[in-house]
Symmetry: C2
Subunit: 304 residues, 2 copies
Amino acid sequence: MSKLPSLKNLSYLLALHQHQNFNRAAQACNVSQSTLSSGIQNLEEQLGCQLIERDHKSFLFTGMGEEVVEQARRILTSTEELLYFAQSQGKIMEGPLRLGCIPTIAPFLVGPLTKQLQVDYPKLQLNIREDTTDNLLHLLRNGELDVLVLALPVDLQGNQSYVLGRDPFKLVMHQSMADNLHEPVQYNQLPDNSIFLLEKEHCLTGHAVAACELADSTKINPFTATSLHSLVQMADARLGATFIPQMAIDRGILNGTDLVALQPTGQQASREIGLVYRPTTNRRQTFRRLAEFIAQLLPEPLLK
Amino acid sequence: MSKLPSLKNLSYLLALHQHQNFNRAAQACNVSQSTLSSGIQNLEEQLGCQLIERDHKSFLFTGMGEEVVEQARRILTSTEELLYFAQSQGKIMEGPLRLGCIPTIAPFLVGPLTKQLQVDYPKLQLNIREDTTDNLLHLLRNGELDVLVLALPVDLQGNQSYVLGRDPFKLVMHQSMADNLHEPVQYNQLPDNSIFLLEKEHCLTGHAVAACELADSTKINPFTATSLHSLVQMADARLGATFIPQMAIDRGILNGTDLVALQPTGQQASREIGLVYRPTTNRRQTFRRLAEFIAQLLPEPLLK
DNA sequence: AACCTTAATTAGTATTTCCGATTATAGTAA
DNA sequence: TTACTATAATCGGAAATACTAATTAAGGTT
């Protein structure tokens, strides 16, 4: 059996991949350029394959090199987690925690969450990143985030999750449009192009359409918004109706508008909120506790 | 940020855990006892916590030590996989492949599988281990196996799977017992205690009962068998009926008996066969190919 | 042509890792 | 008691390795 590559050399490779430059990568690793250079060569020899194509002046990662980078990242992440785990034994709610959250949840969750965490677990340093589901999953895989709050169902790509609770959808429109409607609202009572949704990058769009059984796409206006706040503005301007999650309404997104929230059609007109983490994590206890904590902040908690 | 523990020291810890003796562990690692001893101490210092309790003459892993062993195993497995992956680039169907299979599948799959693999991929060294679902999943987690063939559904414990196909259940009994029955067989036509099953360790028992909708447990004889071949013997001795998967029948398990195979009740009276692998694997291509390959050997392939 | 940037190479130095021998301790046999 | 065995820790020196600074080589820029 050949010798295993060293973590050090793997980290050199990662740095090189990140900086795409030997000198800057070496600086980032606090070693000289020659050290990093020979480290990479060493690695190539041990692995028995070329990782970067050299071109005298510049270089390019080979396909193989990219693959190795991916896997090396996972290995280093696991090792860092092991180190962190051992060093902070017994203190599951202390230290840094990097949480990712989608834009249709974050603005309505982060406030109460950080506030309450500060009280219950003052030593927990919560670091929040807001991004789309796809990007967050990518950051989770790469070890740049520890845990995500997503709307389910979604392809977890091998990750694991706790279901935290449900967040009902409401059909929101100007009160002048709601007079002759009764709940649950049948969509055929609405004019064509009268329902506004978010850009397709937001999973809320798909979830709302599915959960509220909005089969008739002629009702959907092709113009898309980039945030729930925009949607609210548009509805308040009497452009049409839209779906808004209960969480956002509870946090007062409709305050100061003339909008009303009606019950839409749909057996279970709601989305599920879940906490997602790597299957290889060693912080399940932390995530479990956090899950119970967040669940209590949701309109319909399912956990504990 | 503190320095990462070295893979070497982690492997020393694993060896010590396995052999529970410094000298033997050191031998297994091809290093001296002093090297291993100081390696472990080094590790404890880096991780900032005690991994083993020393007792002058002997020692004991602490709870923390056991945890670290678990995680170290994963890290080392990943690294070995990375090494193997790089060294055998492009040759997805070559080299060693350690496959685990449950006892109610193995005897009927392994023969044709190895025979056909030998023809199509002669450089693949298939290594087969037969054990219960639980044990196989444990070995998969520990990196002692690469891939499993299991009957689904089963708690995959964070692993991933390809569904290969279905394997129908047949109700097997002596032909003299089958005369006044018609298919699909209603179980109330059978006497109490007349259905024999395997020990509960075998997932086949649960799968058969569920798939064949055998709700009335008074029909089940409390005496359990340890293999399908025993069940066949018992049925042939006119002790009662039993469920046998089609795979086994196709491979001639009923040859030389006076047994008949009848269609049992049940919407879909069959079990699913799946190929299970770690979510962190880098051999998906290999497993995919293998999955397609095995699927073709099943009674009802679902793949490709 | 002179100069800058880039990565590889080289040779010498510093650090780390490893081993063999020894020590310390406890259990066991004479 | 007194050897004897087995265990893990410790220590000093040797071997392996990792690292650096300086240099080289080659392409791009002024």
